[in-house]
Amino acid sequence: MVNSILPLTLKDAIVKKRGKVIVGPVTTKIGVKGFTIVIGPNGSGKTSLLRLMHGMERPREGMVTWQCSDAEAKTRQTFVFQAPIVMRRSVVDNIAYPLLVKGIPKAKALQEATRSAQAIGLGNALHLEANYLSGGERQKLAIARALITEPDVLFLDEPTTNLDGGAMKEIEDVLQSAFKSGTRIVMATHDFGQARRLATDVLFLYRGKLHETGAAKTFFKLPKSFEAQAFLRGDIVE
């Protein structure tokens, strides 16, 4: 691979909706390596922050910069949405789609998608209409589709929120192995247990502001901010 598109830097970046600031000002850096968890209660701005990083929201103020042109960065990162977007196609065609977008010949794309589907446990549903998949399978499909182009960075927005324990475990295993094989992951969750299991570093978001950032180890041992302590204790934070 050529030079990494990372680190990603946000400098005083702000997302506004209808004149209201919903995220920011945020200043932080997503380093070359790691499994970053963006954690915070519902409505704290996790989705908006991830979309800002991914380029789907424009910063109203401030800057979001990659180590390359935005145009190039766009082609080397993917996003898994909270509610998986399933195309009206078969499982294998769904997974192959990003390769086709990149102009890879159909036969080769299908071959790779097949391999990827098998690896993620959708091997016996290859030619099934993706619409028939269960919630967990849909999310696996979305992840396989997001990984098929071997992105530098994979963003995930609460990928296990609507899943039961078993499906959650499977997804976490998939993400762990993607991480181990070198994919930079940035993932939002409001589940502390999950954050603890997966994170190498943490961005704690509360009411649109980053209250705390740093290595997961230190964060979980003793959060510095009052809000994070309360959240960690399981108090209801609003």
């Binding site: 766009k74 009206r88 789609y97 977008v101």
Partner: protein, 234 residues
């Protein structure tokens, strides 16, 4: 009521006897209408997709206009095409008046807005569903349109069939630009109009039943083709 039964009998007899004249006009009806449907779909489907994925200044106006065009009175379209194609008109040199081509042109004008409008609705809904994914994957406008057209092909088939239904039963416009000339531009609907005018109601009704049967047959044929492709809920 006697006319009704005689009509059924007439229809049966026309078909059973393998009437060459009937065969000719059925074939011409199909030829004119299917050509118009294919051309109108080639224009209307991409246009519907284009309208769905593009944001531009007068988009709402364009959609309102498109919906209004769905209700174009065929007779007026016929008159317009007639004027365009008549000897003294701008396209008079092409010598197309009173030919099947003129009829196809009129039908294309009538059904393209219908096909584009239904396609636009279907594709707009799918676009809402796919929006984030297709933006995130950095697709080009052209790729988006192709993906949306392909993935909504079931609904687009409905759009196309609606166009077919409107065109096969249309008489006002093709009567004007085709002239209902025997062995040249006579089709089922213009023949029905002629027989009705002559007072031969049984014959007119017979042709009417054949027209209906034809429309149903084409719909069913297309549906069964699309069903065998894949059985699913889409």
């Amino acid at each position: 009521m006697t006319d009704f039964w005689q009509g059924i009998l007439e229809a049966f007899w026309l078909v059973a006897s393998g009437d060459a004249g009937l065969f000719e006009i059925v074939l011409r009806s199909l030829q004119v209408t299917l050509s118009a449907v294919v051309i109108a779909s080639l224009i209307g489907l991409p246009f519907g997709a284009w309208l769905s994925v593009n944001r531009f200044r007068y988009r709402r106006t364009a959609i309102a206009l498109l919906n209004a065009l769905m209700g174009l009175p065929p007779v007026v379209v016929g008159l317009f095409v007639y004027i365009m194609l008549s000897r003294s008109g701008p396209f008079g040199v092409l010598d197309l008046l009173y030919t099947p081509t003129a009829m196809i042109i009129a039908q294309v004008i009538i059904i393209t807005p219908l096909i584009a409008s239904i396609a636009h609705q279907a594709i707009r809904d799918l676009w809402a569903e796919y929006h984030d994914l297709l933006i995130s994957l950095n697709t080009t406008k052209w790729q988006r349109m192709r993906t949306l057209i392909w993935d909504s092909r079931r609904s687009l088939l409905t759009a196309t069939l609606a166009g077919f239904g409107r065109a096969i039963g249309e008489v006002g416009a093709i009567m004007i630009v085709g002239g209902n000339i025997d062995h040249a531009t006579r089709v089922l609907t213009t023949a029905i109009a002629l027989e009705t005018g002559k007072g031969d109601f049984a014959m007119a009704l017979g042709l009417g039943f054949i027209l209906i049967a034809l429309a149903i047959a084409v719909n069913m044929a297309i549906h069964s083709i699309s069903q065998t492709e894949r059985t699913s809920t889409w």
